[in-house]
C-alpha cells in the first residue's frame, strides 16, 4: 500500500508500494505542487512504470515554470529503474 506525508517544510515523504493501483493517490499530491519540492523516497519500497509516468508528468509541468522535483534517498532497486530509463538525468536526485 502506498502512503505519503507532508513535512513541516512543505516537502513530502512517500512510503510503501507505488504500483498501478495506487497512482491516483500519488497523482493528487503531485498535481497540487506548484513550486520545486523535495520528495523523500526513504520509505518507498517499490515503484512501477505507472508511478514513473506520473512523476514524469509532474516534472514536465514544474519545469515549464522553472521548478522541479528533487528526489532523495532512493533505494538501490529504484535507482536502477531510474538509470535504465534515463530518469536519473531528468530528475534532480540526492
Amino acid at each position: 500500500m502506498f502512503d505519503f506525508r507532508q513535512l513541516d517544510s512543505g516537502d513530502y515523504s512517500f512510503s510503501g508500494r507505488l504500483d498501478a493501483s495506487q497512482t491516483d493517490k500519488a497523482e493528487r499530491v503531485l498535481k497540487s505542487l506548484t513550486k520545486s519540492t523535495t520528495i523523500d523516497f526513504q520509505q518507498l519500497d517499490y515503484i512501477s512504470s505507472a508511478g514513473l509516468g506520473i512523476l514524469l508528468a509532474c516534472q514536465k509541468r514544474l519545469r515549464a515554470t522553472g521548478n522541479g522535483l528533487i528526489l532523495t534517498n532512493l533505494n538501490s532497486y529504484i535507482k536502477d529503474i531510474f538509470k535504465f530509463t534515463g530518469f536519473d538525468k531528468i530528475f534532480e536526485i540526492h
Partner: protein, 133 residues
C-alpha cells in the same frame, strides 16, 4: 505454486500478496525479488489493459528453478501480443520529448534474464526467469 486472478487492477493487492508469499517460501529476495514484482505487475496491468474483451482469467505461477526464479503467466481468451519485442526507447531524449508510453515493456527487457512468449488457442503464455544473486 499457481494462483488465478480476475482481469482487473483491483486484483493487484492480491497479486502482490501472492508474490511476496511465494518469494519468501522460495527464499528469493533482494534484486531478484524486486524484479519479479516489477515484471509481474507490468505484465498483469498490460493483460488487464489490452484484454478488456476477454472473459478469461490470468494465472500466475512462481517457483525457484536452481539459481533462478521462474515465473509463468497464462492469459486466457486474448489476441496475440508478443511482449518480448518491445519498441526501443531513446533514454537520452530531453524531458520535453519523453513520454511514459512503453516504459514498462522496455524495462522488462532490461530486467529479466530470459523471457519467452507462446500463443495458441487464444491463450498467451509468458515465462521469464531472473537469476538470484
Amino acid at each position: 505454486m499457481e494462483k488465478v486472478f480476475h482481469r482487473t487492477l483491483a486484483e493487484l493487492e492480491r497479486v502482490f500478496y501472492f508474490i511476496e508469499h511465494q518469494l519468501v517460501s522460495e527464499k528469493v529476495d533482494g534484486k531478484a525479488a524486486f524484479a519479479v514484482k516489477f515484471v509481474v505487475e507490468e505484465l498483469f496491468t498490460n493483460m488487464v489493459k489490452y484484454g478488456k474483451g476477454s472473459k478469461g482469467d490470468i494465472t500466475l505461477g512462481i517457483m525457484r528453478a536452481g539459481d533462478a526464479c521462474k515465473v509463468t503467466m497464462v492469459d486466457d481468451d486474448v489476441d496475440e501480443f508478443d511482449i518480448t519485442k518491445p519498441k526501443e526507447i531513446d533514454i537520452s531524449q530531453s524531458l520535453e520529448e519523453r513520454t511514459p508510453g512503453g516504459l514498462g515493456i522496455y524495462l522488462i527487457s532490461k530486467i529479466v534474464d530470459s523471457i519467452d512468449y507462446r500463443y495458441a488457442n487464444r491463450q498467451s503464455t509468458i515465462t521469464f526467469t531472473k537469476r538470484l544473486e
